[in-house]
């Protein structure tokens, strides 16, 4: 089969659509989770959703819908524990991790299903996605994007500083619940694409990558959405081409491509922050005494020395000294 034929196959087009919407939606909610320092919440919900899938397999209902319901219940449970227990959100997540996974495996066994059936939900199977599942994925992803982007001023304020938001008259509990429910929906949406065990990567890694280079929240959100889309569609295409040579699963390819983006931008971010630190203006006042520096280098724009604003002039950092131009010579500052 040629690549053109492969990509015109209906199953491949369904997969591309699912990848596009998942990649766009997952980082939206991931940004709010990272902002609350709850980056692992996606993982916790993913594990809870395993139980949901197993309930579906056991009862014969669509595993997508049972996973949505169980994940939302799990998200609300995490939110309640977080609100009541002040700082122990991570313990609550851990409890749900284990409970969700153990419950899922147990229920699958009880239902007489083979572990292989659960596996396609654990690690994703985007190429076997059905017409109905694509529609559900698109609708739920669109819901996440519309709410997550539309309510971004409110969600940002609540995650940034809940107490301030409450005194500003925002219904903090309501917005927290929205984030929790959207996170649960996102987990189920991404379940078919990358699998429940890798869901969180698609939510968190693009955010981690984009914040290496951004300074504002809005830029982080938009860049994360772009990176998420690039990773999920790109990963699918790469795995499709690679499948001529070997068995390459799309889910892990998407996650690894996303991680590769982080590995590339991380040193860049480190360098940018280092540079910004070097160039931050010196806050102290210029010294009163007048110490002349004795050397014949001409400092100026592009002279190779770091130029740092200081009061009303510029200091040049030279061998650990700060040289300030003064007439025809330099002062030590």
């Amino acid at each position: 089969m040629t690549p053109v034929e492969l990509f015109s196959e209906p199953f491949m087009q369904r997969a591309l659509l699912a990848a596009l919407f998942t990649g766009l939606a997952a980082p939206v909610i991931g940004t709010y989770l990272v902002q609350r320092r709850l980056a692992l919440m996606g993982d916790g919900l993913g594990h809870v959703a395993v139980t949901g899938v197993a309930v579906g397999l056991l009862t014969g209902y669509s595993p997508t819908w049972t996973a949505v319901v169980v994940a939302i219940l799990g998200a609300i449970a995490i939110e309640v524990v977080r609100e009541r227990g002040n700082t122990n959100g991570d313990v609550a997540l851990a409890l749900l991790f284990y409970g969700g996974l153990a419950g899922g495996v147990l229920l699958t066994g009880l239902g007489g299903r083979r572990a292989a059936e659960l596996q396609q939900y654990l690690f994703g199977s985007i190429t076997t996605i059905s017409d109905g599942d694509v529609v559900v994925t698109m609708v739920l992803a669109a819901l996440v994007i519309v709410v997550g982007v539309g309510l971004s001023p409110q969600l940002f304020a609540v995650a940034q500083d809940p107490e301030f938001a409450r005194v500003a008259g925002l219904r903090v509990r309501f917005y927290n619940l929205i984030v929790a429910v959207l996170a649960a929906v996102t987990v189920t949406v991404a379940m078919r694409t990358v699998g429940l065990l890798l869901v969180s990567a698609l939510m968190v890694v693009p955010v981690a990558t984009s914040q290496q280079l951004t300074r504002s929240f809005r830029a982080t959100l938009v860049a994360a959405m772009a990176l998420g889309t690039l990773a999920s569609v790109g990963g699918l295409v790469i795995s499709a081409f690679a499948s001529y040579q070997a068995t390459v699963a799309p889910g892990p390819t998407i996650v690894l491509l996303s991680l590769a983006g982080f590995v590339i931008t991380w040193p860049l971010g480190v360098w940018l922050r280092h540079r910004a630190r070097l160039r931050r203006p010196f806050a102290d006042e210029a010294p009163d005494e007048h110490t002349v520096s004795d050397h014949d280098h001409d400092h100026g724009p592009g002279c190779g020395h770091v130029a740092v604003p200081h009061d009303d002039h510029v200091d040049y950092v030279h061998d650990g000294h700060r040289h300030a131009p003064h007439g025809t010579h330099y002062d030590e500052h």
Partner: protein, 265 residues
């Protein structure tokens, strides 16, 4: 009509009485400093006044409206006690200050011209005009505190609550803060400020309320920082007080949580 009125206010945290017998009346345009040792209840009082802590007894009215029916939150500016303005994701100074404008914005509407002007003015007033586009996490602690004050300013409130705005802030930054608060005072805003030590703010304070062990121990003319801890303070009110200073087992009143479902706030 007083801006703030507390009658026989009491607050209990996890069943433990923290504030009791609070009677307080603050008029329009007053600049009040709430002072006292750690754990004396001054922050708890501000949290009760802003509705973050429910009263276990008594009543609070803001602008003549009982607190439970009060919805005009745009008239209140709040600067919570925080170590910084940064969170897990980068945010620019402008974005943080913009969130202070939410009280005056309706859902799903973009920022209007008035909103933008108010946000710019607030950033300008705290002297961060040239840093508006920078990430808050790149700012110093004192500058971050100024960002939080600008956020409270953005909604043009009439009544300000500031919880320890100068804690851990160096002197030059304290002076900028003082200038910002002075211009608020000129505009006729009412300011209630929690402070451990007043520093440069002392020049603005018109009235000091000293808390001790959850009661108001002194209410009147401003007093020097060191006098807050004098044992004689509050004797005039007839209460019996020991000259008790902070001891090692005293915490702030936040309950200490040991398991996920324990310690409901």
């Amino acid at each position: 009509m007083p801006v703030i009125e507390v009658q026989d206010g009491a607050v209990a945290i996890s069943g433990r009485p923290v504030l009791r017998g609070i009677d307080l009346c603050v008029g329009r345009g007053e600049f009040v400093a709430l002072m006292g040792a750690n754990g004396s209840g001054k922050s708890t009082l501000v949290r009760a006044l802003t509705g973050l802590r429910p009263l276990s007894r008594g009543a609070i009215t803001l602008f003549g409206t009982p607190l439970e029916d009060f919805h005009e939150w745009h008239r209140i500016g709040f600067v919570p006690q925080r170590s910084g303005a940064a969170s897990g994701v980068p945010a620019s100074v402008r974005e943080v200050v913009s969130s202070g404008r939410l009280t005056r914005r309706r859902l799903l509407r973009p920022l209007g011209a008035t909103d933008r002007r108010a946000i710019d003015d607030a950033i300008e007033l705290v002297g961060l005009g040239d840093r508006a586009r920078d990430g808050v996490s790149t700012l110093s602690g004192g500058q971050q505190q100024r960002v939080l004050i600008a956020r409270a300013l953005a909604a043009d409130p009439e009544l300000f609550f500031l919880d320890e705005p100068t804690a851990g802030v160096d002197l030059p930054n304290q002076k900028v803060l003082t200038d910002a608060l002075a211009s608020l005072k000129e505009r006729g805003a009412t300011i209630v400020l929690v402070a451990h030590e007043l520093g440069p703010l002392a020049a603005l304070v018109e009235r000091a309320v000293v808390m001790r062990d959850g009661r108001v121990a002194y209410d009147g003319e401003p007093i020097p920082d060191h006098a807050v801890h004098e044992p004689w303070l509050g004797e005039a009110h007839g209460h019996h007080h020991h000259a008790r200073h902070e001891s090692a087992h005293e915490h702030d009143h936040a309950p200490h949580v040991r398991s996920p479902l324990e310690g409901r706030p």
